[in-house]
């Protein structure tokens, strides 16, 4: 009973502090909302459109012009320039005006009409591999479509019907099923990784701030006394208000993701919510650990901040963990975000059976439990005046 009374006392003191220190609100409400808005606007379009390319048409015939106009008609690429030499194209690329050059050789039409193999060459900038991927696919599709058109004409001249010609031309066809992200939309897979990334940064920083200011302002003793000397009451009363606000932010985040942007939610929302609570708590506890051990707010913020930003790379969403060495794979396990991402992918996108997420939730729980080992240290720095007032 006394634990509850003590916790409540700390809680009341904390709410008073929050009302006095605007930084609390900035970290838990203002900046999270600003960041959500930024990402929602950023990914509103989702797919790149009209990437500028240049075409060097050395043939200048009806067929070559037809191919050029086909390049221009796709959504992804846009024939912005018709150039006279490769030299001109290279300069435009260095000036950042185009991302690819397509070369149609002279004799293009002559070769096709005389039933001889001809070729088309493209030079695609590899500076941005997402742009490269999109463009390469788009250019290949266009050339393949053009090529098919030629084949059908030739085969029909040989006396086949159009349907027969089509079958003849493609003895093996494929139907493609894109699983879990059917529109191959950037927003669908990046948004759900950037938004929780923001959540973890704010969970960690706000916790370090909340405890760090007690040390910096030499109010740690008062905090300890309010808790009636109970370290648990100190901690729970401290973390709970921040946790509740961030939980509300998490629901706002879910609204932005699943409702506004339309990210699929194929699995269990409740598992995702539970994992989200655990995720915020894990980062709060890591914050407690860092600031207790270092007992210096500024250094804790620098180290905690550095640690939080690293998580993104090791979640494997952009560059898969599979491509990293064993050492780095092990390293990736020091970030709760890695496990949260797996749960998100399994539950929101894949709709995997819940059992696959339970294990990851177990791993994440370790980040909540292990920092508890630093509670004696928290008690020490809250009672020993030598740790206070360091700026």
């Amino acid at each position: 009973m006394s634990f509850l009374r003590n916790t409540y006392a700390v809680l009341r003191r904390e709410v008073n502090r929050m009302a006095r220190l605007p930084m609390y609100w900035i970290l838990t409400i203002v900046l999270p909302l600003v960041s959500f808005a930024f990402f929602a606007v950023m990914f509103y379009k989702g797919v790149p459109e009209h990437i500028p390319i240049a075409v060097l048409d050395e043939d200048q015939t009806e067929l070559s012009r037809q191919l050029v106009s086909m390049f221009g008609q796709t959504v992804t690429s846009d024939v912005r320039y018709e150039i006279q030499s490769m030299h001109e194209g290279e300069r435009m690329m260095r000036e950042g005006k185009i991302s690819a050059i397509v070369l149609i050789p002279s004799d293009f039409q002559k070769d096709i009409l005389s039933n001889t193999q001809t070729h088309v060459v493209s030079y695609v900038s590899g500076m941005n591999i997402s742009v490269n991927g999109m463009l390469s696919k788009d250019l290949l599709t266009t050339v393949t479509t053009f090529s098919s058109g030629v084949q059908i004409q030739v085969l029909m001249k040989q006396g086949l019907t159009e349907a027969q010609a089509y079958q003849q031309m493609m003895p093996v066809r494929f139907d493609r099923h894109v699983l879990f992200n059917p529109y191959i939309n950037y927003g669908y897979y990046l948004l759900p990784s950037f938004l929780p990334m923001m959540m973890l940064i704010f969970a960690l920083l706000s916790t370090i701030f909340a405890i760090g200011t007690e040390l910096k302002g030499s109010t740690a003793g008062e905090w300890f006394e309010t808790a009636g000397g109970s370290t648990w009451a100190m901690m729970v009363g401290k973390l709970l208000p921040i946790h509740l606000i961030l939980l509300v932010m998490m629901l706002v985040m879910d609204f932005v993701m699943y409702v506004l942007v339309g990210v699929p939610l194929n699995g269990s929302f409740w598992i995702l919510l539970l994992a989200g609570i655990e995720f915020i708590l894990a980062y709060q506890m890591i914050g407690v650990l860092i600031v207790s051990v270092l007992s210096n707010m500024r250094l804790s913020l620098s180290i905690g901040g550095g640690y939080s930003v690293l998580a993104f790379t090791f979640s494997g969403l952009t560059f898969p963990l599979m491509a990293m060495g064993t050492g780095l794979k092990v390293f990736s396990c020091i970030f709760p975000f890695t496990f949260y991402t797996k749960i998100f992918v399994d539950q929101a996108l894949r709709g995997a059976p819940i059992i696959y997420s339970i294990q990851d939730m177990g791993w994440m729980a370790l980040f909540v439990i292990l920092p508890l080992l630093c509670l004696p240290r928290l008690r020490k720095i809250a009672t020993d005046k030598t740790y206070w007032g360091r700026i």
Partner: protein
């Protein structure tokens, strides 16, 4: 008259030196600042480069559900094994089994070959193969798709060619019908489409800006907490009289970053084999306005921070948005135009764009002229804002 000018210059020179000495002291006696302004570049560039060290994703396990179980179907499946991107890790006997493997993250794509595959191919008809590809991890989707589709197209062309020859066509004629337009594609500047080669230059340039903004902000907060503005800066009547303070600080940051940036763009670049196609002179002439714009922006912002912890609390989260705004990771064309334009208020947008073209593509200063102009303009604007900001703080402190 000349004596008076000389005295003023001497006074400002002493102020400049005093600011510099004070700045070095505050940076190197503060672990948090050293970590941000010196350590971060070494730590981040190393960890990120190691993470992206393999550059290209290879050997992705896929499953082939072969209902046909014939020579023809096996030779198709073999093609998926032969390329670098994928390997056939499992041969599930049903789609249900394939699905379980999928959820267990044992495979990242499934190719389903129907039982009538050989019959249709040999009988001159069209066979249909189904692909189930996981797009929840983008890069994986792309690599698997490329390899599987290449295998299918190759098989298709080969079958068509053989059919035409069987019908009595000559080999060149059959080739021309089966594949009238040969398509060749070359990737420039990053031939293997390495992930690290693509993202690291942008990350390093953004880290330079972010650590400068946060670090300078921490020092600025310290100045305010300790009331240093009053003791270090002469109570100026004119805005221009704040110049020695701003320049004193700037020279200190420039000198520190001269070391760390040389490491990151020199030794580090060389060690990880990132493209170095720009000439040294071009790079220096481009980086100078970039660094100045970042530093002046940092000083201007630092006058807003009342406490030393505020800069990291306000600015840390912005690193990812700023990297995205630079257009280096997401395709520029996927971002709303007005947002990209807005992003130009940060030196990183023009900095990343210009630096990548210089160092990765070998562009000259002429080629990056628009970016260069933007950076000098930003440097001038932020220098003015820095002077105004410092004078504002001084005035407020005088009132108190």
């Amino acid at each position: 008259m000349t004596r008076k000018i000389k005295a003023t210059i001497a006074l400002h020179w002493r102020e400049f030196v005093r600011v510099m000495r004070n700045e070095y002291k505050h940076i190197f006696t503060d672990g948090g600042v050293v970590l941000v302004m010196v350590g971060a570049i070494f730590i981040y560039s190393t960890i990120y480069s190691l993470a992206y060290g393999n550059e290209v994703l290879r050997n992705i396990p896929i499953g082939v559900v072969d209902m046909s179980q014939t020579q023809t179907s096996r030779s198709l499946a073999h093609l998926f094994d032969a390329g670098p991107n994928t390997y056939v890790a499992y041969n599930p006997t049903s789609m249900k089994e394939a699905e379980d493997l999928f959820f267990a993250r044992k495979i990242y794509g499934v190719v389903y070959i129907p039982d009538d595959y050989e019959e249709k191919i040999l009988g001159g008809m069209q066979a249909t193969v189904s692909l189930y590809l996981d797009a929840s991890y983008f890069l994986m989707y792309r690599q698997v798709f490329q390899e599987v589709v290449a295998g299918l197209m190759q098989t298709g062309t080969q079958v068509e060619f053989l059919r035409l020859v069987a019908k009595g066509a000559t080999i060149p004629a059959a080739q021309a019908v089966a594949n009238p337009v040969i398509y060749e594609t070359h990737n420039l500047f990053n031939p293997y489409l390495g992930y690290g080669t693509f993202i690291m230059p942008a990350i390093i340039i953004v880290i330079i800006q972010q650590t400068l903004l946060i670090g300078i902000g921490m020092i600025g907060g310290t100045w305010r907490e300790l009331g240093l503005y009053k003791s270090l800066a002469m109570p100026g009547r004119k805005r221009l009289s704040m110049l020695p303070v701003v320049l004193g600080k700037s020279v200190v940051y420039l000198s520190i970053y001269a070391f760390t940036v040389s490491y990151a763009l020199g030794f580090h670049y060389w060690m990880f084999g990132y493209p170095m196609n720009g000439s040294l002179g071009t790079i220096l002439l481009f980086l100078l306005p970039y660094m100045l714009a970042c530093i002046f922006l940092g000083i201007a912002l630092s006058t807003l921070f009342r406490y030393r912890e505020n800069s990291i609390l306000w600015l840390l989260w912005s690193s990812i948005p700023i990297l995205l705004l630079s257009g280096a990771s997401l395709p520029r064309e996927a971002i709303p135009g007005w947002l990209l334009d807005f992003g130009k208020i940060f030196p990183s947008s023009s900095g990343v764009e210009g630096f990548l073209r210089i160092q990765t593509m070998g562009a000259s200063l002429d080629d990056v002229l628009p970016e260069l102009k933007t950076l000098w303009a930003l440097a001038a604007i932020y220098l003015a804002l820095a002077c105004i900001g410092i004078r504002h703080v001084l005035r407020k402190q005088e009132v108190i």
